[in-house]
């Protein structure tokens, strides 16, 4: 055991062992056996998502996933809940498909119910009406929630009218227009074998998992592969928006269009992020400056790599602070971004980040759901079997100059969009941000949101946001 706080110099070899099968239906099945796992997780990802929403009925893909386990040709919603819940099971869905977990010994029950929902969901009119009403009520409340509105308006500033610029569940108006037949049509057209990636992790026998899924999905329509078109996204330029609400704090978002996961600079950007705004604790520069030194906030962070996907993500710097600190916070974000663009980090700073990344990756795979999430991402992005080890080697090879270069190439502090929600008007924000009001986007009339309430704040307070 080390007592000198020096991480091992060797780069660990890391993998999530799994078997890959193509089922008769065309679905890809990935199985990662894990002896002793108390929980089994299954994820059924359907390619497409909100991009497939019909115009005017935005939210169809999301509602299809959200309501798929509300009744099938074989079982009512009540029967599904009656089987699943006593076994510690749960299935939830969204625009990207379904995911569930269960006490490991009951994994075949979860497989059965999840496949039943995938292939036989009926979207009963009464269930759809009931659930839609709840969502509409929720959206009405969140229309006035500054935190929700700030995040949504920032996405709109960055992505414009592309579907990435809206919530997956659409707006109140589009949600109100969705009918049960829209959901049935979406499932029939898009929830097909060749668009599905199913990942399973638990204390399971892969051969048996394959037999079980073959049996349940034997009659699933194969369908066609997804046709995609390149996204048309707004140029990176400064735009400003604000959601005015009388609160103690203002939520500030500063950023712009980011990168794809396939970007060749991805590994260097991960390191840059950790130096700049995502390093754990207060080891990153933005947390150290804005929280630790200036005491501006409890919650502050910045990242470009964490949202990188098949489509471009965003660079987002966020802080929740008192309104009188808004200018200091914005200036602080810009100063730290410019600094990392002009000064390469010191060797100690980079060694710290490398120590973290090389040491923490092996810790990240304790949960079965984390493993299924990784397997699905690996399949969608086409990662090779030794991807994790390769990535660690890429991290180790990044130099201080690489970090400075990717910061200069990918960050645009003077062209960033800025959004505020809280006790600041758009004009006030434009003034403190030093952005011409002509650049300010008109506030979107659509108000959207989706977070479920979490009304159990009475029993804990923590040093950092969990």
């Amino acid at each position: 055991m080390s007592t000198t706080f020096t991480p091992p110099r060797t780069i660990p070899s890391l993998s999530v062992p799994f078997e890959r099968h193509v089922l008769t239906s065309g679905a890809i099945l990935l199985v990662s056996p894990r002896a002793g796992a108390p929980v089994c997780a299954i994820q059924a990802h359907i390619r497409g998502g909100p991009a497939l929403d019909p115009k005017g009925r935005e939210g169809v893909a999301w509602l299809t996933g959200a309501l798929a386990e509300q009744g099938t040709k074989r079982r009512t919603e009540e029967q599904i809940a009656g089987l699943l819940e006593p076994a510690g099971g749960d299935i939830s869905g969204d625009a990207s498909g379904l995911a569930g977990s269960i006490v490991n010994d009951e994994w075949e029950l979860l497989a059965d119910l999840l496949c039943d929902s995938l292939t036989n969901a009926t979207f009963p009119a009464e269930e759809v009406r009931r659930q839609k009403t709840r969502v509409l009520d929720r959206l009405l409340i969140e229309r006035d929630d500054p935190r929700q509105q700030g995040g949504l308006r920032f996405r709109k500033l960055v992505y414009g009218d592309h579907w990435l610029g809206r919530a997956a569940y659409g707006s109140r108006a589009s949600m109100a227009r969705i009918r049960p037949e829209d959901l049935r049509a979406h499932r029939a057209a898009n929830w097909v074998g060749r668009r599905a990636v199913i990942s399973v992790c638990g204390d399971v026998d892969p051969a048996r998992v394959k037999r079980v899924f073959e049996r349940h999905l034997a009659k699933w329509r194969t369908g066609t592969l997804l046709a995609t078109t390149p996204p048309v996204l707004p140029a990176i330029e400064p735009r400003v928006d604000a959601f005015r609400a009388e609160r103690q704090q203002v939520h500030l978002y500063l950023g712009h269009l980011g990168v794809r996961r396939s970007d060749p600079d991805y590994a260097a950007l991960v390191l840059m992020d950790h130096v700049l705004g995502t390093g754990p604790g207060f080891t990153n520069r933005i947390s150290r400056k804005l929280r630790d030194e200036l005491g501006l906030a409890y919650s502050v962070h910045a990242s470009i790599h964490s949202s990188a996907g098949i489509l471009p993500g965003t660079f987002t710097a966020y802080i929740g602070t008192s309104p009188q600190h808004a200018k200091t916070a914005i200036d602080g974000f810009r100063a730290e971004i410019r600094r990392i663009q002009t000064e390469a980090p010191g060797a100690d700073e980079l060694d710290l980040v490398k120590g973290y990344l090389l040491g923490s990756f092996p810790l990240g795979f304790e949960r079965s759901s984390r493993r299924t999430g990784y397997l699905t991402a690996a399949e969608l992005h086409g990662f090779p079997p030794d991807h994790l080890t390769r990535l660690l080697h890429e991290f180790a090879a990044v130099t201080p100059e690489d970090v400075r270069r990717v910061a200069a190439d990918h960050l645009h502090p003077d062209k960033s969009c800025i959004c505020a929600s809280g006790p600041l008007s758009r004009a006030e924000l434009a003034e403190i941000a030093g952005v011409s009001i002509e650049h300010a986007e008109k506030p979107s009339r659509a108000r959207r949101a989706a977070r479920r309430p979490n009304p159990t704040h009475v029993t804990q307070a923590a040093r950092r946001p969990a």
């Binding site: 055991m1 007592t3 108390p38 819940e85 009520d137 929630d145 207060f282 949960r367 009475v458 029993t459």
Partner: protein, 443 residues
């Protein structure tokens, strides 16, 4: 001390050993070799329960300061060392305890023990750092004040716990925090951060015998005798003599209600029965309140309950959001009707069995990672005894239909509850656009 400790119990594939060092520190060694990971959690028996009006919030603020420098680990060093070793750390404060955790690869977790040993004995509490971190805590408090549920539950909590310190929010109040001095925090630290007031849990992939030697070498030094200080006065709430009601307003479209009843302490018979009651009411889609209020009658968008058992006494919470267009009185009447059913009618055995199975299945999730397991055992250990974590399912399985009915009658009586409503502001209610948006008819 370094002789082989016997395995006292097993849980989720882990073998549990326990000992106490000569200085009074209790140590739980929980060996499980599923992953090459170790969680180190140090629990102190101190929380908002140990504060008075003058020092309200000091336990949570001190938790922040535990990362701001000790004798051997200067400011930022705890995070720097953790990060360099590829680990993670955090901390949290509750009403009854404060906990610090690390998760590290199993070949380097000794660093966490060194850090904990140093900051237990030699925290710097530098006045400049104290002032800077106070600003952060005040921002954290402001963030909470922007959350309507937090405001509502704090209102109800203040009423249900009478004169007990549990009535105060863990984070404290801005006026008390602003005037809190570093000397007051130093006294709080000296009094509570001592080995006999703490429990160390090490959980994961390690060897118990060699690890105990390391624990002893870092955390086993003798301590001077504790100062004799009066305990804060903690009067357990007396039996309520009638319902208390409060209302507040919030500028959104929602009617929210928090109901809370005083209840029993952690580990009491009532604690187990109320776990079952909570699951019967809101555990899953077939639970009574969710089924009736949300799915069948469309009166609420969400409803939840929480059995919040604490060391001295507890509270049973019920929280719901009104569906749009539903009068709050209708929702409250429907809640009352369901609670009355629980008190008056015999619960079908099948329904009780379902609730017990749901609770039992939660065990798998409570032990999925070494940090989950360390938290589960450590929390029971610091508040009562770790064996309760192992015995809890036996207690749950033993709950009878009659006990559920009796607990519902005794605890959930209308005459002993606090009801706090949050309604939309007048401006919100009068907005034509908002009236139009929420004018849908309800069954």
């Amino acid at each position: 001390m370094t002789t082989e400790l016997p395995v006292l119990a097993t849980k989720a594939g882990a073998s549990i050993r326990e000992t106490a060092l000569a200085n009074g520190l209790r140590v739980l060694l929980v060996e499980r070799h599923l992953d090459p990971v170790v969680a180190v959690m140090l629990w102190y028996r101190v929380g908002s329960r140990d504060e008075d009006e003058r020092t309200a919030g000091v336990s949570h603020f001190l938790e922040h300061m535990m990362f701001k420098g000790s004798s051997a680990f200067g400011k930022g060093e705890v995070d720097r060392v953790t990060t360099l070793l590829g680990g993670s750390n955090n901390a949290f404060t509750t009403n009854d305890h404060t906990a610090y955790w690390f998760e590290l690869a199993s070949d380097r977790f000794e660093a966490a023990l060194l850090i904990e040993a140093d900051r237990m004995r030699a925290l710097l509490l530098d006045p400049l750092e104290f002032a800077a971190e106070k600003a952060v805590v005040l921002e954290e408090l402001a963030m909470g004040l922007d959350d309507p549920w937090r405001r509502l539950t704090e209102l109800a909590q203040e009423a249900v716990f009478g004169r007990h310190p549990y009535r105060r929010p863990i984070i404290g109040h801005a006026d008390a925090l602003k005037r809190l001095t570093v000397e007051e925090m130093r006294a709080h630290y000296a009094r509570h951060y001592r080995p006999e007031n703490a429990i160390l849990v090490v959980c994961g992939d390690f060897d118990s015998r060699s690890t105990l030697r390391i624990v002893e070498s870092h955390l086993g030094a003798p301590w001077p005798a504790a100062l004799l200080v009066d305990e804060p006065f903690r009067p357990v709430p007396t039996e309520p003599v009638g319902e208390k009601r409060f209302t507040m307003t919030w500028d959104d479209e929602c009617h929210r209600v928090a109901m809370v009843w005083p209840s029993g302490a952690v580990g009491s018979k009532e604690d187990w029965v109320l776990d079952v009651v909570s699951t019967l009411l809101t555990g899953g889609r077939l639970s009574r309140l969710h089924r009736r209020l949300v799915l069948e009658r469309g009166l609420a968008t969400t409803v939840s309950t929480q059995n919040d058992a604490r060391v001295d006494c507890g509270a049973f919470w019920l929280m719901a959001e009104c569906a749009q267009g539903v009068a709050p009185e209708r929702l409250e009447k429907a809640i009352d009707d369901e609670l009355a059913r629980l008190c008056d009618e015999t619960i079908p055995a099948k329904e009780l069995d379902r609730a017990k199975k749901i609770i039992a299945s939660g065990e798998a999730y409570d032990s999925e990672t070494v940090s989950d397991l360390a938290e589960e055992l450590g929390e029971f250990a610091i508040d009562a005894h770790w064996r309760l974590s192992l015995e809890s399912l036996d207690h749950i399985r033993a709950v009878t239909v009659a006990e559920v009915r009796d607990a519902a009658r005794r605890v959930l009586a209308t005459s002993r509850r606090v009801v706090a409503w949050s309604h939309p502001t007048e401006k919100q209610r009068k907005s034509p656009a908002k009236r139009a948006a929420s004018s849908g008819k309800r069954r």
